[in-house]
């Protein structure tokens, strides 16, 4: 599904190399976890794939089902089925959460040549999905992320993901700032979306999220490259020994 080859990326303003040759292939139906120390390039990888401005791709390719992602505008990547749950979701004052969701859902449907959801259909769907994430009607009315707690913001990201039904989901440190209960709720939301036709890239520092969202493959990223790939046991190894051993081993 997602295929990244020899991806080199710099920060546009600073001429600073962040990704130094990333190779990654994620098949449909699989959950890949990406772990690694701070500054290893995990979030940058997700941002570059979503098309956030400020990065310069120097070399390499990234395709989603054969489509060159790097050539597309951010909204075209979204319509192609890519989604990033952000580590720090942005506040949009004055814009109701529900309005935002409906505009996003219909924009994507339109881009794919589908009919827009009617108000009634949309409402029914959003209510059902919000309920699973314990998001109440009041939170749907409030302006997007404004005054949301850390946990509310992350649940809201998962709600967006559930509504947009992307095929390739990237979760960027969705567990950061969450207490155990909130993390379980988020994990349940994510697990409900696991499907043969959908793949996940879960970026995290900690094994604990992976107790709830069981990965098929675990990658360790360091200094802009994926340095080691293994099964779920690799995450446990990190949890027990930290990154030092692994980094020493591959150095």
């Amino acid at each position: 599904m997602l295929e990244i080859k020899d991806l080199h990326v710099e920060l546009a303003e600073e001429d600073k190399a962040i990704l130094k040759g990333v190779d990654l292939k994620i098949e449909a139906g699989k959950v890949h976890a990406i772990m690694g120390p701070n500054g290893s390039g995990k979030s940058t990888l997700a941002y570059v794939l979503s098309g956030r401005p400020g990065y310069e791709v120097k070399q390499g390719t990234a395709t989603l089902d054969g489509t060159d992602l790097l050539e597309l505008e951010p909204e075209e990547r979204a319509a192609a089925g890519l989604f990033q749950a952000f580590q720090y979701p942005v506040e949009i004052p004055g814009v109701g959460n529900m309005t935002f969701l409906r505009t996003a859902v219909n924009a994507q449907r339109k881009a794919r040549g589908q009919e827009e959801l009617s108000a009634a259909e949309f409402l029914k769907e959003v209510r059902a999905k919000a309920k699973d994430l314990e998001i109440d009607a009041e939170m749907l009315k409030r302006p997007v992320n404004v005054g949301f707690s850390g946990g509310e913001k992350k649940r809201n990201e998962i709600l967006q993901m559930a509504m947009l039904e992307p095929r390739m989901c990237m979760l960027d440190e969705t567990d950061s700032g969450l207490d155990v209960d909130a993390m379980k709720l988020v994990a349940t939301g994510v697990n409900a979306l696991r499907d043969e036709g959908r793949a996940f890239m879960v970026i995290t520092h900690y094994q604990r999220l992976l107790d709830h969202i069981k990965p098929d493959v675990v990658h360790i990223m360091a200094d802009g490259r994926i340095v080691k790939t293994g099964g779920p046991e690799l995450a446990l190894e990190v949890e027990h020994n930290g990154y030092a051993d692994i980094l020493a081993e591959v150095a």
Partner: protein, 507 residues
């Protein structure tokens, strides 16, 4: 519509808005002109032209004298230059001061006698005038139930009022809603009693000019205790070239009455700048309430700043009675230059004034707009919420005065003034003046200036919205407080305008 749709409108941009914007395609959708034979008075301004305008409107002698008095004053005045706007000097002798469609030389008795081309013009503007004309004009149609919410419309095309719809329903309620020229003829006592009492003839350069040459406009009188059964609406359109439009509006809300009044404006695309200098006077008696909403979408000029309307308008409400209330809401998206300060004189004790404003400037547009809240009575309250949005090379100034007079014990004002910048070549300015002449008055002022945040735009785009949808969503969110103050029909139109007027402002 379902409950959701309503909440959508209130909360921000919704899909219908975005669709409408898409359909529009070009930036200024009212830029066409109607090919109608016009009758002009000769260019320039003299005593004779003033007399001619008065004569064309079949006015009584006192009105002619009033106009001539204003003209003589105007000759001695100089154009104000304190506003933060810059435009080439206007040659007031190179303008037509009177233009009307030839088919209107004999005033139509009803809308059915109106040139179909004119009605087509209004249809293009989205005013359901024709349907309403049937209700208003055709015999036997009386008493027929009108569908949905009724809005009575008075349409002003260049200098002449075309006809007012729903006359019969209004008459039943005792409400007078007609063109000002009809009012001068049919209700001279009311006009004499109130005209020029809120905006005196000598008020300012443009108001004085308007007093001399206004050719038509609207008149509203709501009798004591009457709640006007429908929204009243005026639609102004400048069609003819090199023509100034000088309409005059006079609204009187007698004791304990209520009226909501909507005003919309458009003009065709022309390379030459055109002048619009209107005066609106509102008198609010004891316990009465007036809501006045404007969606101003005059042609703003092209991307290089060529053409467009000069919008020099004086609007003022006098809350004469105790507990009277006035609410100004304006969405200013058009015009090349805007100079406009809808104001409230809070004379009655416990009277209230509110001003809600969205001013959007794009490309080379300039707006210097705000309000004056003059607190004279005890316990008077005012509230100002101003949202200025600037894009392209535009300059957007909020200018406001809050004045607490010595007898205005316990008067209160709250002002919130927010500016949003899109891009790095535009400007936003806030010039609040506060005068407090008694120590029991309370004045609060909050101001913010922000830029449309790249992160917000990226967030929206990563969820599938294109750049223009994203900007429209964020800006509509920024304006939410004011959009909520608009009547429902206008809120939709205003949201579309927000999106349309910012097209091409990013990327």
């Amino acid at each position: 519509m379902t409950a959701l749709d309503h909440s959508q409108v209130k909360e921000g941009v919704d899909q219908d808005t975005v669709d409408a914007v898409r359909e529009v395609g070009s930036t200024y959708k009212h830029g066409w002109s109607t090919d109608i034979e016009m009758e002009y008075a000769p260019k320039g301004l003299t005593h004779d032209i003033v007399r001619l305008i008065s004569e064309k409107n079949e006015e009584p002698e006192w009105m002619t004298e009033w106009r001539l008095g204003a003209y003589d004053r105007w000759l001695k005045m100089v154009e104000p230059d304190w506003a933060m706007v810059d435009y080439p000097k206007i040659d007031f002798q190179d303008q037509y001061y009177y233009a009307r469609p030839k088919s209107m030389m004999v005033k139509p008795k009803s809308l059915d006698e109106v040139d179909p081309k004119l009605l087509a013009t209004y249809e293009k503007l989205g005013i359901p005038l024709r349907e309403q004309a049937i209700l208003a004009g055709v015999e036997g149609a009386e008493g027929a139930p009108a569908e949905g919410r009724k809005v009575a419309v008075d349409a002003v095309f260049d200098s002449v009022s075309l006809g007012t719809t729903f006359q019969d329903d209004l008459k039943k309620a005792g409400v007078i809603f007609c063109s000002i020229s009809d009012a001068i003829r049919d209700y001279p006592d009311l006009v004499k009693k109130y005209l020029g009492t809120v905006v005196p003839v000598s008020d300012n350069y443009y108001a004085t000019l308007n007093s001399a040459v206004f050719s038509d406009g609207s008149f509203v009188y709501v009798p004591p205790g009457v709640r006007c059964p429908m929204e009243l609406s005026t639609y102004f359109r400048i069609n003819a070239e090199n023509t100034g439009q000088f309409e005059r509006t006079l609204i009187i809300a007698d004791k304990g009455s209520y009226v909501s009044y909507l005003e919309g404006c458009t003009a065709p695309k022309r390379d030459e700048a055109q002048l619009h200098a209107a005066v609106v006077e509102i008198i609010v008696e004891e316990d009465a309430e007036v809501k006045y909403s404007t969606v101003q979408n005059w042609y703003p000029g092209d991307e290089d700043g060529k053409g467009g309307i000069y919008n020099f308008v004086t609007k003022r409400a006098d809350c004469r009675g105790d507990r009277s209330k006035v609410m100004w809401t304006q969405v200013e998206t058009g015009a090349a230059v805007t100079w406009k300060y809808p104001s409230c004189i809070l004379r009655g004790d416990d009277s209230q004034g509110e001003f809600y404003s969205i001013a959007i400037t794009n490309n080379w547009q300039q707006a210097d707009t705000g309000t004056k809240m003059i607190h004279l009575g005890k316990n008077t309250k005012s509230r100002i919420v101003s949202k200025g949005i600037s894009a392209g090379q535009a300059q957007n100034t909020y200018r406001g005065l809050v004045s607490m007079h010595p007898k205005a014990k316990n008067a209160r004002n709250f002002t919130q003034c927010d500016s949003l910048l899109i891009g790095s070549k535009c400007g936003a300015h806030a010039i609040p003046y506060i005068e407090a002449k008694n120590n029991s008055a309370r004045v609060e002022h909050e101001a913010t200036t922000s830029k449309v945040d790249e992160n917000q735009l990226f967030y929206c785009r990563s969820r599938g919205m294109d750049e223009e949808e994203a900007v429209a969503l964020v800006v509509n969110g920024f304006c939410k407080d004011v959009l909520q103050a608009l009547p429902m029909e206008f809120a939709m139109e205003a949201q579309q305008l927000v999106a349309i007027s910012l097209e091409g402002s990013v990327g």
